[in-house]
Symmetry: C2
Subunit: 212 residues, 2 copies
DNA sequence: TTATTTAAACTAACCGGTTAGTTGACCTTT
DNA sequence: AAAGGTCAACTAACCGGTTAGTTTAAATAA
């Protein structure tokens, strides 16, 4: 129950801050992002960042947790209920892809955490990344057992799948420059999706077979 | 010509600075790295950074150019002279992999530049990344024409190959945590190499064939 | 002499964080 | 209903630590 409110409009100040912070942290990192800029992008006084979130670190953590919560609910939402591990794996990859497409800041924020050995490390891995990675590995194993998937190293394959999916979005700005067109445009993303899934399918299934 | 003080020869002060700066910029980014720390890691006075490299930005740029020069010479050194585009492509991927394994700072520095839309963008892409990417795409096209490689989108395949190669090294710290062991240990790198090349081979060749 | 190097003090700017005070909606009490 | 009080939300101005970059004076080597 909000007690005192100022004038009329207030699309949740804290949310605006969170959104602006997400953009700046993704683009410039914790050290590179400027609180003043975040504040002005959120159209609030700088002091509000510290009013709602204790300090820069806390704000950064809030951004991460907010994003990871969405990540987890997305991933869990789209688990296919099929007997075919091959199909389940492709659905997993596609779902992960779609989440990234919908949250372009995510890969950059995670990449930053991955590069420095920050303190966030532990909870990010334990609460979010490890469960997802384990599920992928488990599905690959099941696929191999069911002879739907080639006999490959499940863990490395998981790294490869997640890596080739993530890197496209994480490096989109520079790749767009190389390609000479905007790779985050809806059409480009759709093309990437099919190309990626096609590549996966043919890198996983045994010779001469198809997942169906 | 080393002119400096001290009886024992200095392994080129500027080089020590460059090396230390590379480590700190890779780990913390341009904004996050501290000149004082770079200086003490290089065992020189802070003023030397500004004596040899005008300012922090220039030092950062020097680090990038130094690394990219090595990147280019490595890549050009290992071009296979074979008629088989499929083999040339695998050699290209393997060579890129080996360069990354030998220069663990490279992917992190490039990733950072890729994430923010910095001014370095243009020359990095134009002078280094674009030529390499083009060569990969060209080789894939030749492979398709020679029916050694499946009929796939060459550009997206290039993204996938480079992405799955790079992301392993760029995210090594966090992946190591997930895997529960050091993924940059020589043995782990060797395992990654074979797993990666195996995955590539079976994702590229037409059904039932092999590159040989 | 001249180029390189150190140590140390210094500055200017930047930037995270604080503070004192204001505003306005809602809640009493009269 | 008028008057007064309360509290969360908000602002402008400021504070103090940090850090890029400079300067100075001295030392060392070629």
């Amino acid at each position: 129950m909000p007690r005192g409110r100022k004038k009329q409009e207030n699309p949740e100040t804290a949310d605006r801050i969170l959104e602006a912070a997400e953009n700046y942290f993704a683009a410039h990192g914790l050290a590179g992002a400027r609180t003043e800029e975040i504040a002005s992008a959120a159209r609030v006084n700088k002091a509000m960042l510290f009013y709602y979130f204790r300090n820069k670190q806390h704000l950064h953590r809030a951004v991460l947790e907010n994003l990871f919560r969405q990540f987890r609910s997305s991933v869990y939402a789209l688990r296919e209920k099929t007997d075919s591990p091959g199909r389940r794996l492709l659905a997993l990859a596609a779902g992960y892809f779609d989440f990234l497409a919908a949250h372009p800041n995510y890969p950059r924020l995670v990449q930053r955490e991955a590069m420095e050995a920050s303190g966030n490390f532990k909870w990010i891995v334990g609460d979010y990344l490890d469960p997802f990675h384990s599920e992928v590995v488990r599905t690959i194993r099941a696929g191999i057992a069911a002879r739907e998937i080639r006999n490959i190293d499940p863990e490395h394959t998981a790294f490869s799948i997640l890596g080739m999916t993530t890197s496209y979005f994480a490096a989109a700005p520079i790749l767009s420059r190389i390609a000479g067109r905007d790779l985050l445009a809806p059409k480009a993303i759709a093309a990437r999706r099919t190309a990626l899934l096609d590549f996966l399918e043919h890198g996983l299934i045994p010779e001469g077979e198809t997942i169906r």
